[in-house]
Symmetry: D2
Subunit: 303 residues, 4 copies
């Protein structure tokens, strides 16, 4: 198998949108793509793809914990003129603990970030380049769901089960939909069900079905703008090679493609199966955290 470095070098988008670019493949979403995507809103059905953010989320502890939500004001023991009361609250969380976009500064290798920026731009002060707020004017466009779990007739695929380009092609054919330039591709593995059925964060995080390295070329050739999944790392784990997260390396650092993770496609999938429509308008703006390497999201799919 071609090494991920060779693959990344071959597919590289560095300098494709100029030496100053910090947005990568979302550049494929040109204004005309947005106009076309808007026409997919035909019935007004809306699906929210973010999971709940709270203490019972999918993080088993370690480097990332689940969001901790704390009330600052509950309305009690307030004495404002006229009887006004208010509640207020705080959150403490890893920005990538639940539904999220990976920023392009999230992953790198060999001392370089996407577009050739030095990895020294990421330090304890945050990301001076490629931070998630650079994606603030986005991410929205045509969304397409490829439902691989349904294609394979399973509630959920298995940890370590690789999604191949052929799977993607077959899903397109079976669903009667095409993936093209500027699309935001959603791939359903059913892995979210492993967590929601058991509440077992450790099982959810122990591995996952996901795309293999060969899909990188598929995504590149179709000029996909972004990819998002219902697992926690998009790519298959354990990996096909001995490398740690090689698909992350190629997609984020070489293609400049942001990854959406820990999403919930169950309601959307059921609806698509019913009406046979697997395309929609997708609006998934990141919160503009300055110098951050990722952002929580709640993507809206609207048909």
């Amino acid at each position: 198998m071609e090494s991920y470095r060779d693959l990344g070098a071959r597919l590289s988008n560095w300098n494709r949108w100029g030496p100053e670019d910090e947005r990568g493949t979302v550049n494929f979403i040109t204004p005309d793509k947005l106009v076309t995507a808007a026409r997919l809103i035909r019935t007004g059905k809306m699906f929210d793809l973010g999971i709940p953010f709270g203490a019972d989320g999918p993080q088993p502890g370690g480097g990332r914990v689940n969001p901790v939500h704390l009330m600052r004001e509950t309305g009690e023991n307030q004495d404002f003129p006229g009887g006004f009361h208010f509640a207020d609250d705080y959150i403490f969380m890893p920005l990538q603990s639940a539904s999220q976009w990976d920023g392009l500064s999230h992953v790198f290798y060999d001392g370089h970030l996407y577009n050739g920026y030095s990895s020294a731009h990421v330090d304890s002060h945050g990301a001076k380049k490629l931070s998630i707020d650079k994606m603030g004017k986005g991410i929205a466009g045509r969304g397409v769901l490829l439902d691989i779990a349904r294609l394979k007739g399973v509630d959920h695929m298995q940890a370590g089960e690789v999604i191949t380009p052929e799977d993607l092609d077959q899903a397109m054919a079976a669903q009667g939909v095409q993936v093209g330039t500027g699309d935001i591709l959603l791939i359903r593995t059913g892995w979210r069900n492993v967590f929601t059925s058991s509440g077992d964060a450790r099982a959810f995080m122990s591995g996952e079905p996901g795309i293999g390295l060969a899909c990188c070329e598929w995504l590149d050739s179709r000029e996909v703008a972004a990819i998002a999944c219902d697992n926690w790392a998009v790519e298959v784990l354990p990996s096909e090679t001995d490398d740690a997260l090689p698909v992350h390396c190629v997609l984020i650092r070489d293609l400049g493609m942001t990854l959406g993770e820990i999403l919930d496609f169950e309601e959307l999938s059921a609806d698509c199966t019913q009406d046979g429509v697997y395309e929609f308008f997708l609006a998934a703006p990141p919160i503009k955290f300055a110098k951050a390497v990722g952002s929580p999201i709640n993507p809206l799919a609207i048909k």
Copy 2:
């Protein structure tokens, strides 16, 4: 002047969408409204209305601090197979410290939340009713900008300066746009400029121009779905009466209308002035924080 309690009782939407409703006026955004709103995406121009989230934000301290962003991993001193490196980060913040939706559990009086829910539903465990995640399947629809600062020919209106229904009517007339059922109304006061020009959080928070109590009836009669402003509390401060935040009380608790605050309309305003188009598709999904009384947002306005 009619007391805010009398006004609230008169305009009340309690039980309008059933006794179990937790979404209030966003119910005005019916599927057909979404379909119609989508047609406003004509050129693919996109505007991100969220402000940057970081240490230099508009909170001067006290009950709310600015977001504190901390890196957990920077890529240094990692030793993953194959050369993979990753960065990861945490945020600590009040959920309403920057661009935000107020949840319907954020404000109440006389022991009741919107729709008659007891205020006892809000306690140190969070909001059992009317939490912001109940708005997760939203908030998107037709957005309309009424640019009151421009109407008055000022860079920014003054603290304590009341926006009246007549101002709103005049802005509609001057701009050639109507506000109707299910619209998300953006009102520009220019107050955001007070902060961005000086960086002075204390000045920004010391008061603000905003809508007066009379606008509540205007918003109610037009069946507006949500309102959002470039100040920090939507309503004029100091208030017209001796009551604390009476517009909050009426809109959130009686009408069930969520408020968007601390937004940036400068780029959008400039564009609207140029092309004369003050309506657009707006996608502003809250992050689904469980039991939370508000959420950070980055609304996308798309023409």
Copy 3:
């Protein structure tokens, strides 16, 4: 068995040190007690009884998480004149997630805190009465270790195993030490070993050996100033009765006795066994968190 309410009423210290008192039994540590305690520093051996505070602590998640330590500055990418570099860091944690004093506002029943204060003094703004900083001028004095695990000849006692007054008496006799007015009593169950040997936070938190209700009278009659243990709740769990944490209720709310929890007595215990000296000077100042209901500690035992 006498109900914990009856027991608490019988042993109550309310008003013993006046109606304004917020310090409870630490009042037993009078200046002369401090002078006497200081004479126990005879060889200069020092033992630090706090456990490490970090991500791999004994909290399995839920209401309390382990401390999250995050670096703000690491020295890299700084450019101060003369070559100065500094590192800086943040902590996010439940105040009672590791070694700790319970404040007297930590536990209550029937609407009253210690000394008759209304429980309404504790709200989302913190504790207006009996907060831990009221103990700031302390807690130090004569410490005595009663090593019950060693008395019973076990590495650690079992969950649900009750320590009785007879156990305490036998330990005093076996060790040749008396517990008296103003002493800070340390009781070793060995339960800490359950966590350190396995790293299993869930096992550690699933129950514990500890003192039973009958010990409350024993502690009261000897005028003990404070009690601290190497388990996480001082008292036996599951409890002897169907009540939740009845010993907490009696000691904290009725006697006004603060509890020290999640401490490490292993090194101290080994030393005491060797030299036969079970008394020492103990200095365990809480950090003065305003309005807090507990504080992290690192008690020093000095012989």
Copy 4:
């Protein structure tokens, strides 16, 4: 003036306590010093030198914010058997935002920490060497207060006012006390009053009186174990040279001396003036935060 680098090289304690040492000058506090120090507890008077930790502390914002205290449980809406209620709370704070020990990993230059450890030991994962928990078995011993503000007859010294070795000598003579091996030296500048009288964090942080570089040799020659002050950086600011924090560099990195900052000596000072006794037992244990570069403290001075 000798450069701080030359001064540091001349006074260096590297390797004095072996190549593995991580405790520096606190090694001067030998067991016999502890025994002698304990004899200073003669009347049982106790002074707590920590300041309150809360939202109204001395941090004006920026890299360090004041501690944010949030309640997790207030006792309301709990339903435990038997009527038990509990309160619980969280803290978010920079470890050096209020009363604190600087760890020996807090400051460095020229790529080396104290004792020659590479500064690469400090990264986004924390301090692998010289973290504050290495001081866990301490810091306690003989404390001596040199009251320079009182010597100069002022409420507080001025920002930029240098404390010299002569000042220290004169204070010793005036107070009739000697500073010697293993002592923890407290220097009072009165600067704490600038904050407590005005609540103005910015004024407090804008500069300070403190020791100058010449005092490093004085501290070294007397074999002082640790130094602590009522300002926020021990040393005079603005500095005597163009270097940033040169006294920090020499004391922490070359001598291996930990610094105590943002303490409150007012009550202690008043008492010392009254009884003429400027020595006492001091117990100031750091909380054992793993890999941390500093710790909050509440030092107890006991006479």
